[in-house]
Amino acid sequence: MTAFRNLIYDFEEFGLIIRDLLSGIKTIRDSWDETLTEMYLIGSKALPLVLLGGLFSGVILAIETGHQLKIFGATSLISRTVSLGMVRELGPVVTGLLLAARTGAKNSSEIGAMKLSDQIDALTAFGFNPVHKLVLPRTVAALIMFLPLTLIADITGIFGGMLIAYQTFQIELAWFWDTAVNALKMKDLFVGFAKPFFFGFFISTISCYFGLRTKGGTTGLGKNTINAVVYSSIVILILDFIFTKIVWEVL
C-alpha cells in the first residue's frame, strides 16, 4: 500500500514539473544561452556515440536479415529491410537509449549535485523557478537535438547495412541506396521523425525529475542517476511499443 501511495506521489510530483515546464515556456528567451550550451553538449558530445550506435545497428540488421533472406533467395530485400528497420525502429530507439544513458545521466547527476549543495534552494530563495531555469533549457535542447541525431543514426545505419550488403551479399551499392530510399513512405518518415520528439521530452524531464528529488548524499545521487537512466530507457521502450501499435493499427 505504501509503495502504491509513493508511486502516486511520484506521478504527482512529475506532473507538477511538467506543469511548471509548460507554464514557463515564455521564459525560454531568458535562458537561451543555457539552451545553446545544452544543445552543444547533447549534439556534439553525443555525435560519436550516435554515429557508432547507428552504424553497428545497420550492420547487424543487414547481417542477420541478409542470412535469413538468402535462404529464400531474397537478398534483394535487404536494402528495404535495413532502411525501414533503421528509420522506423532502430534509429530512434538506439539513439533514444544512448541519449537516455548519456544525457539522462548528465542531467540527473548535475541537477542532483546542485540539489545536494543547496544551489536549487538558492535559485528558489532568490525568486527563480528551478524548473524554468534548469529543466526548460535542457528539455528544449533535447527537443531540438534529438531529431538531427536520430537522422544521423538512420543514415549511418543504412550506410553500414549497404557496406555489409555489398561485401557479404554482393549487392550493388547504388542499387542498394536507391531501393533503400524508395522503400520509405511518408508514414515511415512520420513515425521515424515523431519518435525523437517524444523520446527527447521524456528523457529530459524524467532525468531532471530524478535530479531535483535527490537526497541522501553521494549514495542518493548515484541511486537517482541510475534510476534516471533506467526509467528513461523503460519509457522509451514503452513509447516505442505504443507508436508501433498505433502505426500498424490506426494509420
Partner: protein, 258 residues
C-alpha cells in the same frame, strides 16, 4: 520588518517547530541560537520562502506573505537575500558570474555596468581581483564572502545568514562578523542562525534561543546570562562563568582599591 506568528512545522510525525513567534526589527541584528537540530535553519528556510509552515502567519512590513498575490510575493522575495551554510555558489560559474547571476536587470545592463557592479560588490567584501576565479579555487572564508556579495547584488533589505562562521578559522570568522556589522551600517537588517557563542556575543542585538522547535528565551545577551531557564543556563554556561569571573575580578579590584 518581519513578524512570525505561531509558526508550526512538522515532517510526518516529527515536530520541527511549535508555535514560534518573534519579530525581526528593522536595522537590528537578530541571532537565532540553539543546539544542532533545534529548528534554527528551518525558521530561516521559512522566512526565505523555501518551506511553507503547517500553520501560522508571516508578516513582511505588515503584510501577510501567504495572502500576497504572485507579483507582490516576488517583489517581497527580492528584498530578502540569503547566505547558505554551504554557500550554494554555482561551481560551473566564475565569481563574477555567480555575483551577477541573480541580478534582475542583468539582461538590460551593458558589460561595463555589470563589471562595475561586480567590482563594487567584490570591493565591499574585500575580495578585489577575484572575479575570474571559480568557487573551487577559493578557501572557505572566501566562498562565504562571495556568497555574501551575491546576496547583496540586488540590494536586499534583509539578509539571512545560515551558520556564517561554522567551519571557519578565527580570523575568517572575525572577517565575516565584520562584514555583517558593515552591512548594518549600510542599512541592511541581518538574521543570523548560529550555534557559536562568539557570534551571539559579537552580533546579537536581539537573541532568540531555540530548543526542540520552541523559543525558550529571547532578548539581549545581558538578559540571557541571568536567565533562570535551565536550558539557557546550560547553553550559555561558558559565558555565564566568564561573566562571573569578570564580575568577581571587578569586585576584587574595587576591594583592593578601596
Amino acid at each position: 520588518m518581519v513578524e512570525l506568528k505561531n509558526i508550526s512545522l512538522s515532517f510526518g510525525e516529527k515536530l520541527i517547530l511549535e508555535n514560534v513567534s518573534f519579530t525581526i526589527e528593522n536595522n537590528l541584528t537578530t541571532v537565532i541560537v540553539g543546539p544542532s537540530g533545534a529548528g534554527k535553519s528551518s525558521i530561516l528556510k521559512i522566512i526565505a520562502g523555501l518551506w511553507r509552515p503547517d500553520s501560522g502567519e508571516i508578516f513582511f512590513n505588515g503584510k501577510d506573505i501567504f495572502k500576497m498575490c504572485e507579483s507582490e510575493y516576488q517583489t517581497m522575495r527580492k528584498k530578502i537575500g540569503i547566505v547558505f551554510q554551504s554557500n550554494a555558489l554555482f561551481d560551473s560559474l566564475s565569481v563574477t558570474e555567480n555575483i551577477l547571476y541573480f541580478l534582475p536587470e542583468r539582461k538590460s545592463l551593458t558589460d561595463h555596468e555589470l563589471k562595475e557592479i561586480s567590482e563594487r560588490l567584490l570591493n565591499f567584501v574585500n575580495m578585489d581581483g577575484t572575479g575570474d576565479l571559480y568557487p573551487e579555487e577559493l578557501s572557505g572564508g572566501m566562498k562565504k564572502r562571495i556568497a555574501i556579495a551575491r546576496a547583496l547584488a540586488f540590494n536586499p533589505k534583509l539578509i539571512l545568514f545560515d551558520e556564517p562562521t561554522t567551519g571557519l578559522d578565527p580570523l575568517n570568522s572575525a572577517s565575516i562578523i565584520e562584514l555583517i556589522e558593515k552591512l548594518k551600517e549600510s542599512g541592511t537588517t541581518s538574521v543570523v542562525v548560529s550555534h557559536i557563542l562568539n557570534d551571539v556575543v559579537e552580533l546579537g542585538e536581539q537573541i532568540i534561543v531555540i530548543n526542540d522547535g520552541s523559543i525558550v528565551e529571547s532578548g539581549r545577551i545581558e538578559k540571557l546570562i541571568t536567565s533562570e531557564d535551565p536550558f539557557v543556563n546550560k547553553f550559555f554556561y561558558r559565558l555565564i562563568k566568564h561573566d562571573r569571573i569578570m564580575k568577581s575580578s571587578y569586585n576584587m579590584y574595587e576591594l583592593v582599591n578601596v
